[in-house]
Structures are given as structure tokens and as C-alpha cells.
């Protein structure tokens, strides 16, 4: 199989596994696995049961399942962009601090809008209408939280870049990313400590949760994914050029600085949007591009698409397991992605150092 056929084959397998998982996701819920499709297809048998099934599938399981896919796709895309941009196989939205920045943005937005009462130590919280929930499904709240997360993520990446004085030095970059991540994470906890009202909701959020993802969040993430994907795809040849070194890229006539800036924005937007809707979900951004690279050596344009598909599939599978394993209780989905994605990376490393492909394809 040549590279092109391989890519096409992988795209199809990504799409097919996504469709299969969507089907499975619709059938797994608070009662474990169940067949809701037959009451949906045969409404004349039991109209009441059909109405319940319709509501649960259409309003809860479908948006949640698709939401998990879009969030995973955003993280996978962000991971691919980060690894290409920083020419570093360890770069992912988490190691660069952008996810910590995004969650700090969300925490500060929540504290400013709702938890402020707790911060002042007064009982202003009687004005319940002002309190904004991290799981709210109002479009403007979602957009607002996404904006806050984007600003936080952008700030974090810029801070990491400033600390590491550019992307030239791998160790410096990763060290800066880890430091920024830890400091911003600590600041998030500090903000939460000062606004106890938002603390409880944020705890679920910090562990990562797809429980309340509705159509608003899903469509928002899908829209941002399209935007980010198009931008990243158009700029992919810069990454291909960059993989040959800055000098070569510049000699090819690429406006390297401007395109790098745009890609940093894409990275921050993709990470921020995913974090604002689903909280901190680990390892998807790191594992998805590696999964793809272990299967095929390809251009960054193809990698963007394939990493999105892989990330979406991975998070969707984790979400289905999170609901199904101990139904009707739930596991935090971030814990499962860490186990699945982390376990996969360990296996990949165990197979031999050469198999963990470098960022340069």
C-alpha cells in the first residue's frame, strides 16, 4: 500500500469506527447497554416508551456522544498542531500549559460572574440569577466560557514561548510548559478557594466531564473544529516546511513568523473550546497524533485530519466506558482517557524507541 492509499484507508476506518461508536453510544446509558432503537423504530408498540426513548436518545445520548467526539477531535487537532509547531513529539495541549491556562480562564470567569459573592464573604448569593453554572447550556454562557478559556490558553502558550525563548530548544520548551502548567493550575485552585460557591462544580470540571454536554456545546465545538481544521490544513505546508528547519522554510518563501502566530492561535482556540465544554481531559491530545504516526508517515495536512478522527474516536470510546462500566453511576471521563491513552503510549514505547515517531514525519 502506498502512503496515499494508507491515508484513505485510515480515514475510512476512523469514520466507520466513529459511526459504530455513535451507534453504541446511543445504546449505553444509565441502565447499561440497552436497545433503544427498536422502540424508536416501532412507535406503535408502546408510544410512552417510544417518547422516553426518543427524548433520551435525541436530547441526552446523541449530543453527548457527538460532543465527546468533537471534543476529542479538537484535542487531537490541537495535539497535532502543537507537535508540528514545536517540532516536538512530547508537545501536547497539556504539556504546554494551554489547558491549565484555559481552565484558569474558566475558573476566573465563573468566579467573576457567580462565585464573587463568596469571595466578598457576604451573602449576596440571594441574587441567584447572577450565578452562572459551569454546566449551563445557554449559548451565551458557553460562548463566554469558551472565550475566557481561549484567552487563558493563548496567554499560557505565549508565556511558555516567552519563557523558553522560542521553540528552538526542546528541553527548555517542555520545562517552560510544565512550569507554566503547574503555576496556572495552582492559580486555578487559588481562585476556587476564594470562591467556594463555584468550587463544587469546578471539581467535577477539573476531572473532565461529558455528563452535561448538550446540543449547544456540541454544535459550538463542531463549528470551532471546522474553523480550526480549515486554518490548520491551509497552514499545514508551513509545518511540513518547518520540519526541514527554519532556514529551509524561509528559503521556500513561507511567511514563517505570521503563520506560526496563526497556528498558536489555532492551538489555543481548539484547546480552549474543548476545555470550556468538557473540562480537563488528559492524554487525548498527546495520544491521537502518535497513534496516527505509528500507522502512517504522512504530511501535516493529512495528520490534522487523522489525528482529529483518532482523538474523537478515543474520547468517544472513553465516554461510553465512563457511563457503562458502573452504570448508573459514572466514572470521570478524564480518568479513563488517561488510562486508555497513557496505556497506549506505554505500549507504543515498550515496542521500541523507534516506534514512537518523532514530530518530523
Amino acid at each position: 500500500m502506498n502512503m496515499r492509499q494508507r491515508v484513505v484507508w485510515l480515514v475510512w476506518s476512523g469514520v466507520v469506527s466513529a459511526v459504530v461508536l455513535i451507534g453504541l453510544g446511543v445504546c449505553v446509558g444509565s441502565t447499561g447497554f440497552e436497545d433503544l432503537l427498536s422502540p424508536l423504530l416501532n412507535p406503535q408498540v408502546d408510544p410512552v416508551q417510544t417518547a422516553v426513548a426518543q427524548q433520551i436518545v435525541w436530547e441526552i445520548r446523541l449530543p453527548r456522544t457527538l460532543g465527546a467526539w468533537t471534543a476529542g477531535a479538537l484535542l487531537g487537532l490541537a495535539g497535532a498542531v502543537a507537535q508540528g509547531l514545536f517540532r516536538n513529539p512530547l508537545a501536547d495541549p497539556y504539556l504546554l500549559g494551554s489547558a491549565s491556562g484555559a481552565s484558569l480562564g474558566v475558573a476566573m470567569a465563573l468566579a467573576a460572574m457567580g462565585g464573587g459573592a463568596g469571595m466578598l464573604g457576604s451573602s449576596v448569593s440571594d441574587s441567584a440569577n447572577l450565578v452562572v453554572s459551569v454546566f449551563s447550556s445557554s449559548l451565551w454562557v458557553r460562548v463566554g466560557l469558551t472565550g475566557a478559556a481561549f484567552c487563558g490558553a493563548l496567554l499560557a502558550v505565549l508565556l511558555t514561548l516567552a519563557l523558553s525563548r522560542g521553540v528552538g530548544h526542546t528541553l527548555r520548551l517542555l520545562l517552560a510548559g510544565v512550569v507554566v502548567g503547574v503555576v496556572l493550575g495552582a492559580m486555578t485552585h487559588l481562585v476556587l478557594l476564594m470562591s467556594p460557591d463555584s468550587l463544587q462544580a469546578m471539581q467535577a470540571f477539573i476531572l473532565g466531564s461529558t455528563a452535561f454536554v448538550g446540543w449547544t456545546s456540541t454544535l459550538l465545538m463542531a463549528g470551532v473544529w471546522c474553523l480550526c481544521f480549515v486554518a490548520a490544513w491551509l497552514l499545514a505546508r508551513v509545518l511540513d516546511g518547518l520540519s526541514l528547519g527554519d532556514a529551509t522554510a524561509i528559503s521556500l518563501g513561507l511567511p514563517v513568523a505570521a503563520m506560526r502566530g496563526t497556528l498558536v492561535a489555532v492551538l489555543a482556540l481548539a484547546t480552549g473550546t474543548a476545555v470550556a465544554q468538557t473540562g480537563l481531559i488528559a492524554f487525548v491530545g498527546l495520544a491521537a497524533p502518535h497513534l496516527v504516526r505509528s500507522l502512517v508517515n504522512t504530511t501535516y495536512g493529512n495528520l490534522m485530519l487523522l489525528a482529529s478522527l483518532a482523538g474523537g474516536t478515543l474520547l468517544m470510546a472513553a465516554d461510553i466506558l465512563a457511563r457503562g462500566l458502573i452504570a448508573p453511576q459514572e466514572l470521570p471521563v478524564g480518568v479513563l482517557t488517561a488510562v486508555l491513552g497513557g496505556g497506549y503510549l506505554l505500549w507504543l514505547m515498550h515496542r521500541g524507541p523507534n516506534r514512537v515517531a518523532g514530530a518530523n514525519p
Binding site: 441526552i60 454546566f135 463544587q200 448538550g214 452504570a327 453511576q329 459514572e330
Partner: protein, 290 residues
């Protein structure tokens, strides 16, 4: 001075040793009833005060805020992240804390007496009150439990029979974590004769799949004010009967504090819950469609 020392000596020899086995199974021996107490759990703070020994508290955790007098005391961090140094500086005779806190061993290593207690169910609350009563040498600690018990029974009696079998969901926080049948909140609800949508087998405070609540379709939802926002807008929740018919008990932050503390104010919690159930749920089952 000599006389003073002599009196002290007399006191020391005449007072008998006090022994209490705490919920870790550790036998704690004190030479006398503690005069300086640090409490790291709001429900234990409230119990000490209810037993009339509020004046012996010298420090509390940051969440202890009732009765008002404890707000003037030194705060020594939270139950899970106490400020060890601040506690030691207070020179307490005993530290009361939750079993789940890790600070116990550290404090004991520093020479302090620690009594770790875990009030989780009604029976636990009763036991914990007797233990603290013994520790503080309060003769009739049983009285507090009798008052709570009588208060819960009175609250149950105040409910019209029509609320029996009402399907209730009590959300503790937005995880969503619920108060199940086996929690102390659930036990109070059981005594009211209402039915909890979260069965005992899921444990006291399980993290639920929100779909479970939609499917269980509760007739009444109890929630604190800090968690009520956006309830209606959660995916699929608008069809839940309690939200459709506005059968929602929203407790203010102060009221929610009373609800979630397994301490002497459980009778008040029962009264608050019963009032709301009577107000919001009394006609729910008469309209058919149980």
C-alpha cells in the same frame, strides 16, 4: 503559689482518667475532661456547643460557622488541609476531627490527643454524640439525640399522608452527586415516607449519570441555591416532572449547611425539608399519574 500548686495537685489526683474509643478503633486516654478543644468538622463543632461546652472550643476549621460564637475563634484551616502549626500553637487538650482526615497521625506524633469520628448515618450521629458527651462529661448527652429523633418524627407527622410515595431527588452538588437512601439525608427522607430515586445499593452519595435522573422522573427535586442555576437547561431535564410542574425545593446557603451536616441541627433540617415537601408536593399525587 504553694496553695495553688497544691490545689492543682489535688485536682490531678482526684480526677479520674477518661477513656474514649474513637471511630478508628483507637483508645484515647485523657487525664481529665478536655478544657481546650479544637474541632475540625462543623458537625462536631455544633455538637460540642449543643452539649453546652462551646466555651471550651479554642479553634475550629474554616467551615465551622454555627453557632455564631465560633466565628470569633481561631480558624485552623480545613478539615482535610488543617494548619498543623496553628493547631499545635493552640495547645489543645483534644482535637476532634473526621476519620477521613489525614492530619490525625501527624497531630498525634506531635503529642496531641486526637479523637476521630465519622458521623455518616443517623446511628453514627447518635453514637458520636454519646462519645463526645462522655468526653466532655456531660451527663445526659442522649438528650440531644432524643431531641433530634423527636424533631424528625414531628416533621414526619406534620406531612399530609398524600406525600407518601412521592419520588424525590436530592442533589448534593452538580457532579451530579445525589443523596442516596443510605445517606443520613436519605434516612430522614425515608422516615417521611417519601421515596428516594437513588436506591441504597448505589451508596450514600453516588455520582450519577444525569440520564438516570431523567429516567427516574422525580416528582420533587431538592437542591441548594448554589446548584439550582441551569437545572432546567440540562440536556433532557426540562421533561422531568418536578421541573415541569415547578416542584423544586431550593435551600439557601445557610439552610443547605443545616441539611448537609450530620449534627445537632438535623431536626431543623428535617423541619425545613418537611415544610417544603408539604408546600410543593402535597398535591402531586392527587392529580393522578403517580
Amino acid at each position: 503559689m504553694k496553695l495553688w500548686l497544691f490545689t492543682l495537685y489535688l485536682l490531678a489526683t482526684t480526677s479520674h482518667a477518661l477513656q474514649v474509643t474513637d471511630d478508628r478503633g483507637v483508645l484515647v486516654t485523657l487525664t481529665q475532661s478536655p478544657l481546650r478543644i479544637v474541632s475540625l468538622l462543623p458537625s462536631l463543632t455544633e455538637t460540642v456547643c449543643e452539649l453546652g461546652r462551646c466555651d471550651r472550643l479554642v479553634g475550629v476549621d474554616r467551615y465551622s460557622n454555627y453557632p455564631d460564637s465560633v466565628q470569633k475563634l481561631v480558624q485552623v484551616g480545613g478539615g482535610l488541609d488543617p494548619n498543623i502549626e496553628a493547631i499545635v500553637a493552640l495547645k489543645p487538650d483534644v482535637v476532634l476531627m473526621a476519620k477521613s482526615s489525614r492530619a490525625g497521625e501527624r497531630l498525634e506524633a506531635l503529642g496531641l490527643k486526637v479523637v476521630a469520628l465519622e458521623p455518616k448515618t443517623h446511628a453514627d450521629v447518635q453514637r458520636v454524640m454519646l462519645k463526645i458527651g462522655a468526653l466532655l462529661e456531660v451527663p445526659d448527652a442522649q438528650r440531644i439525640w432524643r431531641d433530634i429523633d423527636a424533631g424528625v418524627s414531628a416533621a414526619a407527622r406534620s406531612l399530609p399522608p398524600s406525600v407518601r410515595g412521592l419520588r424525590v431527588y436530592f442533589e448534593v452538588n452538580q457532579g451530579p452527586y445525589a443523596a442516596g437512601e443510605s445517606s443520613f439525608i436519605g434516612e430522614t427522607l425515608s422516615r417521611f415516607g417519601v421515596s428516594n430515586i437513588v436506591p441504597a445499593k448505589l451508596g450514600p452519595f453516588p455520582k450519577l449519570n444525569p440520564e438516570f435522573v431523567v429516567r427516574a422522573n422525580p416528582t420533587l427535586i431538592m437542591v441548594s441555591q448554589s446548584n439550582v442555576n441551569g437545572l432546567q437547561a440540562r440536556p433532557g431535564w426540562h421533561s422531568i416532572r418536578a421541573l415541569r410542574e415547578g416542584r423544586l425545593c431550593v435551600f439557601s446557603t445557610q439552610e443547605a449547611n443545616v441539611m448537609v451536616r450530620p449534627g445537632p441541627r438535623m431536626a431543623e433540617a428535617a423541619r425545613l425539608m418537611a415544610q417544603c415537601i408539604a408546600r410543593k408536593g402535597a398535591d402531586a399525587l392527587t392529580g393522578g399519574n403517580p
